[in-house]
């Protein structure tokens, strides 16, 4: 039944988006530390703007913007001899060959394309948040560590990859786990992007059914469906909390932080 597979859609989105967003965030944070100032400015502006504007506005914006951007690029490449303007009044017209996905493509490709756009949008928005967290974590790495690395004659690149990056994670984790919770809670917005997710099906199936149209007539059940979703998300959050606290314990091991110190003492005492 579509309602149950839509839970799979949500989980799949989380599984694909989280690493991608982390990648965006890492790139933005590394960029904001760059000595080359256009890269630095670009990453800082990216992080500042996305944080300052409601994320739902970005979800609505990027889906159309990315779609049009891709079609425009394909249009430039595939149809060089098209002489009419692309924006005609209120219409956005590209040649048929540049349409994404192709009009003739089967339904499943349209769905995959929509899903991919949603993933990219989520990654762009949450990448900015992750970038903020990771940038803060880079700053939190004790200065002595960097000085020691320099004293050993490491180059800037070596210091960054061998000293900063491995130590940064323990400082970034509280922020990142918070972000994971936020990401979970942002998934129902998928519904707005046209992906048929849990919210769509809850609305659809819960709505009033009359005997004329279906075999299972019932009144307005949407309240119960949404209550079910509420419980689903609560359980998911709880499970994530438990898993994340385990990871935190693991990462604090052997680090020069209060948590790591407490674990060392506890180990020595036992």
């Amino acid at each position: 039944m579509a309602f149950y597979t839509s839970f799979g859609t949500v989980l799949l989105l989380l599984a694909v988006t989280a690493p991608l967003a982390l990648g965006f965030g890492f790139a933005a944070a590394a960029g904001s530390r760059s000595a080359f100032f256009p890269v630095k400015w670009l990453s800082n502006i990216y992080m500042a703007i996305v944080r300052g504007v409601p994320d739902i506005a970005f979800f609505l914006f990027f889906v159309i913007a990315l779609d049009q951007g891709l079609e425009w690029m394909r249009h430039q490449v595939l149809c060089p001899d098209w002489d009419q303007p692309i924006r005609q009044g209120n219409d956005f017209i590209v040649c048929a060959a540049a349409k994404l996905p192709q009009n003739s493509a089967p339904e499943i490709y349209h769905q995959i394309y929509g899903f991919a756009l949603a993933v990219l949008t989520f990654a762009i928005v949450f990448g900015a948040f992750a970038g903020n967290v990771v940038a803060g974590a880079f700053k939190a790495v004790p200065h002595g560590q960097i000085e020691t690395a320099e004293a050993y004659g490491m180059t800037k690149r070596q210091t960054f990859w061998r000293i900063m990056v491995p130590q940064m994670w323990t400082y970034a984790l509280p922020g990142l786990s918070n972000l994971w919770m936020v990401l979970i809670k942002a998934t129902p917005l998928l519904f707005l992007l046209g992906v048929e997710d849990v919210v769509y099906w809850a609305k659809e199936l819960g709505g009033t059914k009359t005997a004329r149209f279906t075999d299972y007539p019932h009144g307005d059940w949407r309240m119960y469906y949404f209550f079910g979703l509420l419980v689903f998300y609560l359980l998911f959050t709880k499970v994530s909390e438990v898993v994340l606290s385990r990871i935190t314990r693991k990462l604090s091991h052997g680090q020069a932080t209060a948590a790591g110190e407490a674990m060392r003492k506890a180990g020595a005492g036992a």
Binding site: I49, G52, V53, P54, D55, I56, A57, L60, F61, I64, A65, Q68, R87, N90, D91, F92, V133, P174, G175, N178, V182, I184, K185, A186, T187, P188, L189, L192, V199, A202, K203, G206, D220, R222, M223, F226, F227, L229, L230, Y233, L234, T237, K238
Partner: protein, 268 residues
């Protein structure tokens, strides 16, 4: 239609005054700026209401969570868990359909399905839970020395809370609470995209922005306008909360006020 005419007919369109029909053809930049700005009135209304009521209820819940009495502590913990653990979007949907069934059972609750009341209640409960967690964290972070000094001076009960604990708690919570205020303003955009209907096209800023994006099929104009408005609101919040924060910190040696690092990480 000139721009001043547009402003005259659409400035309060979101509240139901002025021209009934939204512009459908020949949409100018002025139309978009005016209507999206008109929608911002709703965002500001929801945000202010939630912050105003949430500020007080959140402290009550935070104190309840810090209580040593289990019968008071447990409900507060559950309240915070439910509202922080589930998406606001689902809360809006569930709230709307709950209000809908309430309305059908008891006509007395007729207004609950209207956005101005129902959505405001959901937002209020939501921000209460988030702020309560912030205030609870701050309450736990009140320095031990302050409490011991208060005891030594003979403070106890209500005066101790009012004069010693409460100001410190507020001071510690303030940076995180500023964040929460910004986020609740951002969340107000969800109202008309969940169950709550925009009757007679009286919607908020995002409602009009997406209306224009649909009509012109060009997202590059309405959404940046919306973003501009929200950046303005965010700057206002930062300024006002910054001034309050400065007042809360005025007894400390200026120049080296330490911002609690952990608290700034608690955001949505």
């Amino acid at each position: 239609m000139s721009c001043s005419e547009t402003i005259a007919s659409y400035a309060f369109r979101s509240l139901g005054f002025g021209e009934r029909r939204l512009p459908t053809t020949d949409i100018t930049l002025c139309d978009q700026v005016t209507l999206i700005g008109s929608g911002m009135l709703w965002n500001i209304y929801f945000g202010l209401l939630a912050i105003l009521f949430g500020f007080f209820s959140a402290q009550a819940i935070a104190l309840a969570k810090a209580s040593s009495n289990k019968a008071i502590r447990k409900p507060a913990e559950w309240f915070i868990f439910v509202f922080r653990g589930s998406p606001l979007f689902i809360q809006f949907f569930f709230g709307y359909f709950l209000f809908l069934s309430l309305k059908q059972a008891f006509p007395l609750f007729g207004n609950l399905t209207d956005a101005w009341l129902g959505a405001a209640i959901v937002l209020w409960l939501n921000t209460t839970a988030y702020s309560a967690e912030i205030f609870f964290g701050a309450l736990m972070a009140v320095p031990k020395g302050d409490l011991e000094s208060a005891d030594a001076y003979g403070f106890s009960g209500w005066p101790r809370f009012r004069r010693i604990v409460w100001p410190t708690m507020l001071r510690l919570a303030w940076p995180a609470y500023t964040n929460e205020a910004i986020f609740i303003f951002h969340s107000t955009t969800l109202v008309f995209f969940s169950g709550f209907p925009a009757l007679q096209q009286k919607g908020d800023a995002l409602y009009y922005a997406s209306y224009f994006a649909d009509k012109t099929f060009n997202p590059f104009i309405p959404y940046p306008i919306l973003a501009g408005y929200f950046v303005l609101v965010t700057l206002c919040i930062i300024t006002i909360f910054g001034l309050i924060g400065k007042r809360l910190n005025r007894h400390l040696p200026q120049g080296r006020i330490k911002r609690p690092r952990l608290m700034s990480q608690i955001f949505r």
